[in-house]
Every structure is written in structure tokens, then in C-alpha cells.
């Protein structure tokens, strides 16, 4: 299949390589030419604009930083819809795997639909590790018929893909995911800080808790990295801060009370403000230690 891929960062790069390895022809465009380096020897086609990518591809995947980037790549000058129109092409499918606000996804989807372009929002969970291992969890919003067409590609990228609902529903699921992981990381960090300040070994506490109702993947995986004091990202704290901002803005719009997420979002603000933004979000532990006078 002719597949377009835009956004070859930490996540996008290994994902695009999985698709190439599965025998698909890749059409790429990147803001930074350096991002194209890893694709030189595998026969991928580099293009000068997103519009050119759209002319050559049946399905285009985007994996960029934020809502305005998605809107720009899809609908802006030199963007995908411009290329599809110029090629007089019907039935292009755009799959946005970035994490953006549900409202922006719905808006982009509606504008593309008006131009005869199909759109899925398909954000992922699993981080860089999941992207490399093709073990992502993919949460999809859009039409079932389009989802069925793209599913074989999702199977090359992740271990599960679920159609949640209409356009925007994938981003809603991702926002829910970010509430759980954000609050979860904060809770594990608080528990470990509490244990240590009380003179108890947090490693023993973790081991005991893994057997009970407090078991979670975050306690297991993120907890282990906290004990190892391995704060290399992973998933950077500033990205989690951005994702929780999306959550809190939706809550503001909907008149929705999210006190736990609100408190956690402020802790991510503190991380970014105090220079921990580029570390993994588990550096929440460092913030709590500092704030408790025990760094």
C-alpha cells in the first residue's frame, strides 16, 4: 500500500519503520530534514510538502505535537487537503495519531469530510517503548467502514486497536487515559515519598502492594523506575502537562468537576516550572521530595 507518514519524532519514527518493514511504500515529509535520515536506505520517498505526500498516498498517518499542528498539516497551505484537491483524488484517508483536544479533532474531521477526505482520530498509549515494540494501545474515533480499512495497519503498530465511537471519541479516550496515568504516577510518587519519609523502604512497600488491590501497571513499571531513580524519558513531563491541559480545558467547557486531575495538573506545572519538564513524568517523585524538604 502507498502510505504517507508525517511527524517522524520519538514516536513517529519507529512506527513508520514498522509499516515499511511490513512491505508498504512510505511517502514522507518532515519539517526537519534530519528526521528523514533513518529512512534513506529503506526506499522511502521524501517529498517537499504534505500536499505532495497526499498526492501519492492512499492513507496518510500524522503524529505531531499538538492540535494547531494537526490542523496546519491537514488543512493549511501546502497541506494534505490541498494536495488531494490538486490531484483530483477522492477517498484519501487521514489517520491522526497525535494527542490533541477532542474539539479540534472533531473540527478537523468535519472540515476534511466536507472536502471528501476520511478522517480517524487514533491517539495511542504506550510511549516510545510501545512504539518501538509495536505494542501500542490505539484508541480510535471515526466511521466503522474507515476503521476496518485502516485496521491492518494498526495491527502493525500496536497490540490493540479499539473503535471507541464517532470522530473525537478516540481523543476523549486518550484524555481519560491521561487522567488515569497522570493521577496514577502522582499517587505512586506520593506513596513512595510517604514510605521513605516514614523510614520504610519503598521497594518493600511496592513489592507488598503489587499483590493486592493497589496493583497497577504504573505501580509495577513506573514504580520500579522510581526506585531505580531512572528519570530518563520515556514520556516527558511537559507532554503530560500538555495532555492534562487538554483535559482541564474540556472540563472547563463542559462544566465538569475533576478535582484529582486539577491537583495533578498543578504538580505538572510545578515540574515544568522547576526544570523537570524534560525528564520522565515519574520525576514527579523528585518534585515531591523537594517540596517535602528531603532532596
Amino acid at each position: 500500500m502507498q502510505i504517507g507518514f508525517i511527524g517522524l519524532g520519538l514516536m513517529g519514527c519507529p512506527m513508520a519503520q514498522h509499516l515499511a518493514r511490513a512491505g508498504h511504500s512510505l511517502h514522507l515529509w518532515a519539517r526537519r530534514p534530519a528526521a528523514l535520515e533513518p529512512f534513506k536506505d529503506i526506499g522511502a520517498h521524501a517529498h517537499v510538502s504534505a500536499a505532495e505526500v497526499a498526492k501519492h498516498a492512499e492513507i496518510v498517518i500524522t503524529m505531531v505535537a499538538d492540535g494547531p499542528d494537526v490542523a496546519q498539516v491537514c488543512l493549511g497551505a501546502g497541506g494534505l487537503s490541498e494536495g488531494a484537491a490538486a490531484a483530483g483524488k477522492a477517498g484519501l484517508i487521514i489517520v491522526d495519531m497525535s494527542t490533541i483536544a477532542p474539539a479540534v479533532a472533531r473540527d478537523v474531521g468535519a472540515q476534511l469530510a466536507a472536502k471528501g477526505i476520511e478522517f480517524l482520530d487514533a491517539p495511542v498509549s504506550g510511549g516510545e517503548v510501545g512504539a518501538k515494540a509495536a505494542s501500542l494501545t490505539i484508541m480510535v474515533g471515526g466511521k466503522a467502514s474507515v476503521f476496518d480499512k485502516v485496521k491492518p495497519l494498526f495491527e502493525k503498530l500496536g497490540k490493540s486497536s479499539t473503535l471507541i465511537g464517532d470522530c473525537g471519541a478516540g481523543q476523549v479516550a486518550k484524555a481519560c487515559n491521561q487522567i488515569l496515568t497522570g493521577v496514577g504516577v502522582a499517587a505512586v510518587a506520593e506513596a513512595f515519598n510517604f514510605a521513605r519519609k516514614s523510614g520504610v523502604d519503598p521497594a518493600r512497600v511496592r513489592e507488598a502492594l503489587l499483590g493486592g488491590f493497589a496493583y497497577s501497571k504504573i505501580l509495577e513499571n513506573h514504580g520500579q523506575r522510581m526506585l531505580d531513580r531512572n528519570f530518563k524519558p520515556g514520556f516527558k513531563a511537559w507532554m503530560h502537562q500538555k495532555d492534562l491541559r487538554i483535559v482541564m480545558e474540556e472540563a472547563h467547557k463542559l462544566g465538569l468537576m475533576l478535582p484529582g486531575a486539577a491537583a495533578t495538573a498543578q504538580m505538572f506545572n510545578a515540574m515544568v516550572g522547576s526544570g523537570l519538564g524534560e525528564e520522565d513524568s515519574i520525576a514527579m517523585l523528585k518534585l515531591l521530595e523537594r517540596m517535602s524538604g528531603s532532596e
Binding site: M248, H252, G255, L258, A262, A263, M271, G273
Partner: protein, 295 residues
């Protein structure tokens, strides 16, 4: 002097009337025509657009709802900027008394500066009562010489005029004002609820507290509304909800944790969801009551 006034709502109307009464010529415009009638009777000149106001007035005051409203009134198609001196009108100074995002205030100031127009951001505190009594606290951001030009007019509207700093600084001060004030309303609501839940008369508790260290203007004014269960707006809660959106956005942008403001923001979200947005912010008491199983 030839003055202009845009935004004739509950706050804007009495302020415009003070300026007229002092003998200034006043050109006015507002979205809702019915708000103009009393000022027309008092001798104001009603204009068809902000641009027309700008053609007749050197100094224009704006008192509208949100960032987008100010941007539209000043920079939009029929905006004030089209009646500036460089465009053949009289408009040379903007005094924006609305509560908007500091970043928007800075952006508008820069756009106006390019056309030779000076701006003050001059949000106010004190509500409708202080507007009617010309007793507002005015927080000013912008060039000192522009403030000196406008000061005699501010003295017709308020009794405290503080030059906080450059453009945007007035809005930062207002954000701080809203944060402190609404957090105090929430604290008052929780105290009133705790008293009632304990079977103690909240009116007596308020009376006792007013004389001591917890005494405050908020406890006096909003506490009385809570005790009397008078939720008719003084200040519409939806405006405080809007302001919390602004200040929590700033917190995100600056990497600045505001844990209490974040929680108060959630209580305001809940208030909006109950349909109390057009009631007074004393309704935060009703949010706490709902959370304690009282309807």
C-alpha cells in the same frame, strides 16, 4: 474632551454616565441596542460601529466580556483601529477596562502601537456597586505618560488607581485579584456549610468571625448573601468561571503551580454544570451543599 465608550452592560453603563456627567462629549456603541437608551437620553452620541466611535473620540474606553470581544472591537473589521488618527479619525488612546488574558492585552497594545495608538489595560475591582458609586479599584498597565493623560478621567470612576507596570500588568493584577477573592468566597462557603452541618447558626458564625482575624470584605458581602440565601447576581458566577480559565491557562504557560486556584476552578466548573452561572458566586455554597447531599 471627546470620549468614547464601548460595552454598556451592568458595569459599563454607570461608568459611561459618570464621564457624561463630568461634561465630556461621549460617543457610544454596544452590541445590544437597548443598553444605549439611558445614555442617549443623557446626551451621548450613539454610533453605528466601534470605528465610528473612534472617528469622534480621542480616548475610548472598552468594557466588554472576554479576550475575543476586546480583540474584535479594537482590531476587527469595524474595529476602533479604523478610526485612529492615522486613518483620519480622532482615536489615539484606548483604555480597556475589561478583564482579559494578559497575553491578549499585550498583543492588542502592540497592534495599536504600530498605528500610533497608546493603550492602557485597566481592569477594575469592586463590582456594580463600586461602579455606580465611582469607587472602583483600577489596576493599570501601560505607559506612565498615558496614565497621566487618563488619570483625571479615572478619578471620575474610581478611588484607587495603581500603576502596576507595563501593558498586561494590569491584567496580571486582576488575575491575582480574582484568584484571592474567589478563593475567599469558597472558603466562606465551606465555613458556612461546616457551621450548618454542625447544627450551628451560620449567621452567628459569620457575625463572630467578622470581628476577628478571619474578617474580610468577602465574608461581609458574600457571607451575607449566603446567610440570606440571596443568590441573585451581584457578580455573575460565569464571569469568575471565565477568569479562572484565564488564570489557570497562565499557570500552565508559566509552569507555575496554583493548587488552591485549581481546586476553586473545579468548584466553579461544578457550579456552571448546575446551571447557576448567571447567579451570584455566593452559589459556591450551593455547590458545597450538593456535595454534602443537601439539594
Amino acid at each position: 474632551m471627546n470620549l468614547g465608550f464601548i460595552g454598556l452592560g451592568a458595569m459599563g453603563r454607570p461608568l459611561a454616565a459618570h464621564l457624561l456627567r463630568a461634561g465630556h462629549a461621549l460617543a457610544v456603541w454596544s452590541r445590544r441596542p437597548e443598553t444605549k437608551a439611558p445614555l442617549l437620553a443623557a446626551g451621548a452620541q450613539v454610533c453605528a460601529s466601534p470605528a465610528e466611535v473612534a472617528r469622534h473620540a480621542e480616548i475610548v474606553f472598552t468594557m466588554v466580556t472576554g479576550s475575543d470581544d476586546v480583540a474584535a472591537v479594537v482590531l476587527g473589521d469595524q474595529g476602533l483601529i479604523h478610526g485612529c488618527v492615522a486613518a483620519g479619525g480622532q482615536f489615539s488612546t484606548l483604555v480597556d477596562m475589561s478583564t482579559i488574558a494578559p497575553a491578549t492585552a499585550c498583543h492588542i497594545a502592540r497592534s495599536l502601537d504600530e498605528r500610533g495608538v497608546r493603550m492602557l489595560d485597566a481592569p477594575v475591582s469592586g463590582g456594580v456597586t463600586a461602579a455606580e458609586g465611582a469607587a472602583l479599584a483600577i489596576m493599570v498597565g501601560g505607559p506612565a505618560e498615558t496614565l497621566e493623560l487618563v488619570r483625571p478621567l479615572f478619578e471620575l470612576l474610581g478611588k484607587t488607581i495603581v500603576h502596576v507596570g507595563e501593558n498586561g500588568a494590569g491584567q496580571v493584577a486582576k488575575a491575582c485579584n480574582q484568584m484571592v477573592m474567589v478563593a475567599a468566597i469558597e472558603a466562606g462557603a465551606e465555613a458556612m456549610r461546616l457551621a450548618t452541618a454542625s447544627g450551628v447558626d451560620p449567621a452567628k458564625v459569620r457575625q463572630a468571625l467578622l470581628a476577628g482575624s478571619a474578617g474580610s470584605r468577602v465574608l461581609e458581602v458574600f457571607g451575607a448573601r449566603m446567610v440570606n440565601r440571596d443568590f441573585q447576581a451581584g457578580v455573575e458566577a460565569r464571569l469568575h468561571h471565565k477568569d479562572f480559565g484565564i488564570l489557570l491557562d497562565e499557570a500552565h504557560r508559566l509552569g507555575c503551580p496554583l493548587p488552591i486556584a485549581a481546586v476553586v476552578g473545579q468548584q466553579l466548573n461544578s457550579l456552571m454544570a448546575q446551571g447557576w452561572g448567571r447567579d451570584d458566586s455566593a452559589s459556591l455554597l450551593r455547590v458545597v451543599e450538593r456535595g454534602s447531599g443537601r439539594k
